[in-house]
Amino acid sequence: MTSAAGGVIPIGWQGLALATLFVVFVGVVSIRLSLGITKDLAIATVRTYVQLLALGFILRAVFRINSPWLVVGLILLMVLFAAQIVLKRSPDAPRGIFGSAFVAMALTGFIVTFAVTGVIVQVKPWYLPQYVIPLAGMVIGNSMTGIALAIERVYADFDAREDELLALTALGATPWEASHGSIRDALRAGLIPTITSMAAAGLVFIPGMMSGQILAGADPVTATAYQIVVMLMVAAATALGSVIALMLTYHRRFTADGVFLEKGYRREGR
């Protein structure tokens, strides 16, 4: 907690301890009003400390080592965690979701991140961790949210429309033709949060990354340019990730012969 980059005033241990008083205050309110969230609040506070401090020290080490392999490895690790979260959030999805989500986020993560760092920001060397890792984190995090929403939605929609799927298949439709309406609705559902936050940016809130850069002493207009790039990047990451994930997964509820597996026909794991 000693080195200060740019114009940041470092926060010491005493500062962190004082900030913890905010949570202590919430804890007192919770006990007094019997809100029953004291334990969760305590655990969440400890997790915030442990996870973020670990991240800070890991990033400091990664920035020092400055190796391309380490950067690529960290991105893959982030994708792995994100795929695990998508899997947990889609309990009704058929088998194989983990692999598809992993592939979708890995493709999105690398393509979108390096398009931004290599072409738009033009960092040198190409793997400069200070730029690549935070941007990859935002790309993967947002595409994860979009993918989880889209996958959850598409399988729920399939079940809601099983009569329509049967009728269309009976008329000779391929799985793609039969599921097109559900896929379109799921993609829309996955993209709406991103579009909403793009529309509200600057009016309702100062986006997190821009706040961070301003606090770090950057010129607000420079910070704005970064924020615009990030918001467009997030939109692309969400769309690309959801499209790839749905393309890789929608047919898993259909047999090789193109029949939709209604609930009554599903066996263990499909």
Binding site: L166, A167, A170, L171, G172, E177, G181, G258, L261, Y265
Partner: protein, 230 residues
């Protein structure tokens, strides 16, 4: 007479509440051109399952199917279903107008290059089932009986070789049911084959009635009685 549609040794094992159930246990059936076969049997005896197997719409079904003597194995599933057309019991009406619904089959790859029916043909079709609605009516506003007739017309207009009808008149009043019956007879008279699942009292249109129970098919001995129970 050579059969139009033939199926032999159809077996379907479906997951049930307490283990797997052999819903079809070696069912064979031969449908000649011009024939209307009614499948009767108690509820849950697998009548719908049989229709789905014939349309190649049943996951994990085994057995041999042939149309005009040509094995199903040599035909893509989409082409087979376009020729051996199942009308599911629940009419699935998609968004848009009645016309959009009737022309839906021609938006599919399997009918690429096949000309779609013109307005005159669509209007004639709608009249033929006493469906008194305009073609540009919003399809979501149709009644259950109207939806059932639109779904039937949608299949008939594609001119399949075989029609598989799952309770085609369950949601219809007598006059509409009679109109659907007339269309079915006309389809058969023009060389098509029909397999129907019906719960209603026999309407005298079937050329044969078969009884499905315990996974096997037998001639229904008692005529004009639905769901014969031995």
């Amino acid at each position: 007479m050579t059969s139009l549609l033939s199926a032999s040794a159809l077996v379907a094992v479906l997951p049930g509440d307490s283990g797997d159930v052999r819903v079809l246990d070696g069912v064979s059936i031969a449908l000649a051109p011009g024939e209307i076969i009614d499948i009767v049997g108690p509820s849950g005896s697998g009548k719908t399952t049989l229709l789905r197997a014939l349309a190649r719409l049943l996951p994990d079904a085994t057995g041999a199917l042939a149309l005009d003597g040509i094995s199903a194995e040599t035909v893509s599933a989409s082409k087979w279903r376009a020729a051996v057309a199942l009308l599911p019991q629940k009419p699935a009406i998609v968004g848009g107008t009645v016309r959009d619904n009737l022309l839906l089959p021609w938006t599919l790859k399997v009918r690429r290059g096949v000309p779609q029916p013109d307005i005159t043909a669509l209007e004639a079709a709608v009249d033929s089932v006493r469906l008194d609605v305009a073609l540009d009516r919003d399809a979501s506003r149709l009644s259950v009986g109207q939806s059932a007739r639109v779904a039937l017309l949608r299949v008939l207009l594609t001119r399949p070789r075989v029609l598989l009808l799952d309770e085609p008149d369950a949601a219809l009043d007598e006059a509409s049911a009679a109109a659907v019956g007339e269309l079915t007879v006309r389809f058969a008279a023009e060389g098509g084959g029909v397999v129907r699942v019906r719960h209603h009292v026999a309407d005298g249109l079937a050329t044969r009635r078969l009884h499905l129970e315990g996974g096997t098919l037998a001639d229904a001995l008692v005529a004009r009685v639905p769901a014969v129970r031995p």
